[in-house]
């Protein structure tokens, strides 16, 4: 069993599908771009002009998080469920292929595809006047945090596909969860959230990660608290580890089972 060739095979196939499927490109990349163009006109009309660049910067970060979530929590399970509906897993189960290595290929696809989309959103943000206070030292940290967000999202996506029966169910449940997380911890700075919703942010690695990136790139004052505290950090890393392990287990057991 050649581990690297299995990972590569799965990655190349998934990447081709993700870049050729208009629905995936539309929901993962075009939708955040659309929001990036429209939301400032709709929601930020009363923001003073001197704060607009940082506000746009915050929006770009939120859109990148949305992009990662759409890719991993909706499109990844949708793609896996479509393969399951077409009996690909029966075929794979009859071959000397390991479920985890095959899954790693798909996970790498999510990383690469999200990175590609994020660059587009970032560049568009610069064109629209987004501003950041980032130094070179912050970039590896930001990339690391974005990876944690991606891994958590992938874990959630794998759990979804283990328990849903069809492609449309997997994609729709994914969309619902993306919207839930987005509006309850990413769409608005922490300081703007109602008191009741703030605890949810601290137990959601995706929200914590988004706030960490925003704190680094825009400033703690904008976010309204310091997400780099030991409790949030520990919770984020622990829950991410747990979710990805559970997701991989569920994927291996329930997707590969007829």
């Amino acid at each position: 069993m050649n581990i690297l060739s299995q990972i590569r095979a799965s990655f190349v196939r998934s990447m081709r599908i993700f870049t050729r499927d208009k629905a995936i490109i539309g929901s993962s990349i075009m939708l955040p771009i659309f929001f990036l163009l429209v939301l400032p006109l709709v929601l930020f009309q009363n923001v003073p002009a001197e704060y607009m660049p940082l506000t746009r910067g915050f929006l770009v970060i939120a859109m990148i998080t949305l992009l990662i979530m759409s890719t991993a929590i909706s499109n990844l399970p949708g793609s896996i469920a479509a393969d399951r509906d077409h009996d690909l897993y029966s075929k794979l189960s009859s071959m000397p292929v390991h479920p985890v290595y095959e899954c790693v290929g798909r996970i790498i696809t999510v990383f690469v595809f999200s990175a590609f989309g994020s660059v587009i959103v970032l560049l568009l943000g610069f064109v629209l006047g987004a501003q950041y206070n980032v130094t070179l030292i912050d970039i590896p940290l930001i990339l690391g945090i974005a990876s944690v967000i991606t891994l958590t999202s992938v874990g959630v996506g794998l759990i979804i596909v283990g328990f849903t029966k069809s492609e449309s169910a997997a994609a729709h449940v994914g969309v619902a969860i993306v919207m839930f997380i987005y509006f309850l911890g990413i769409a608005f700075p922490y300081s703007e959230l109602p008191e009741l919703l703030r605890p949810l942010v601290h137990v959601n690695p995706i929200c914590v990660g988004n706030n960490m990136i925003a704190a680094l790139a825009i400033g703690e004052d904008f976010i309204g608290y310091n997400p780099f505290n030991i409790i949030d950090l520990t919770t984020m890393l622990t829950l991410t580890g747990l979710v990805i392990c559970v997701g991989l287990y569920i994927y291996s057991k329930y997707c590969w089972k007829r």
Partner: protein, 318 residues
């Protein structure tokens, strides 16, 4: 060419139940490398469950499956290297070309770049897909998709192909072409186990098994099964005028013939139809009847299945 005496598959007393309903009942089977074995049975007889167990994708409750001496339950990696499985559904991605789909499976199997570069064009040519290799699979016909799927099963070192109802959805010409392709693969030394409910699929097999309620109830060559069943061949006549006198005349030709009047024709079920045809033609001519057409029709395997099991193959097991 491999030795015809190589036993590729040994299945011993496979038992499988779903929710206390026994789907496979002490099922046993042995297949050698020269075998083209077709398992026929109605829906619900356990064919697909059996296929999934033999291919190693579904655990059995009890029993043993050996592929070239490797136990599918305990030595699964080695066993799976010798299996080529083609499930019923089309599993190749519509977003990829034929060549890309084959490359995917070649990489999964660990074929080197040079091995894949040699093997993929060979398989595309064998399947007659070389001109369509770089088109998206969504543009392929059902027959082309099935051929591509068989090609994926032959990429590695498959000594036996498992095909689950492969001709479902194919038109008669595509089905014929596909079965001839399987026959040629078998003649090159790869054993084939195919499950179907379509009798025509079994005509080219060298071994046919009838499956009902989780076990094989009859087995043999198509010819032997026809002889076992006692079902006779038919002569189909189109004669005018259609009168009672005509039916009496035909009934009196031989005690072994049964006359059945149908809407468009008259059917005679006879032991030796080829010997009866000149006799019938002569009798009809002498009696002044106008015979518009006459043809012989051997019994179908579906007819034989029904005669041996009292269960229509197009039906469903309760």
């Amino acid at each position: 060419m491999k030795s015809s005496s190589t036993i590729v598959l040994e299945a011993h007393e496979i038992t499988k139940s779903y929710n206390e309903k026994r789907v496979l009942d002490n099922f046993s089977l042995e297949i050698s490398s020269s075998d083209f074995f077709v398992l026929m049975g109605p829906n619900g007889s356990g064919k697909s469950t059996l296929m999934s167990i033999l291919a190693g994708t579904n655990p059995m409750d009890r029993g043993k499956v050996m592929i070239l001496g490797h136990d599918i339950s305990h030595d699964e990696l080695k066993a799976r290297q010798h299996i080529g499985y083609v499930p019923q559904q089309h599993f190749c991605s519509d977003f990829l070309t034929g060549r890309e789909n084959l490359q995917y499976f070649a990489d999964l199997l660990g074929l080197s770049k040079s091995q894949a570069k040699k093997r993929i064009p060979q398989l595309l040519q064998m399947m007659g897909l070389e001109d369509d290799a770089d088109r998206n699979v969504r543009e392929y016909s059902g027959g082309m998709k099935k051929k591509l799927e068989v090609a994926t099963a032959l990429l590695g070192d498959a000594q036996i192909l498992f095909l689950d109802e492969p001709s479902t959805g194919l038109d008669p010409n595509a089905r014929k072409e596909f079965l001839m392709l399987l026959k040629s693969i078998n003649e090159q030394g790869t054993a084939i186990l195919l499950v179907t409910h379509i009798g025509e699929d079994a005509e080219i097999a060298n071994r046919v098994g009838f499956m009902l309620e989780g076990r094989i109830v009859a087995e043999g060559t198509p010819q032997k099964l026809k002889e076992m069943s006692g079902v006779k061949s038919s002569i189909i006549l189109d004669v005018i005028p259609r009168t009672d006198e005509l039916l009496l005349l035909l009934g009196g030709i031989s005690n072994d013939c049964i006359v059945i009047e149908r809407n468009e024709s008259i059917e005679l079920s006879c032991e030796e139809p080829n010997e009866m045809v000149p006799l019938i033609m002569d009798k009809l001519q002498r009696s002044g009847f106008n015979m518009r057409s006459i043809e012989t029709q051997p019994p179908s395997l579906e007819d034989i299945f029904y005669s041996l099991t009292a269960c229509p193959i197009g039906g469903e097991v309760a």
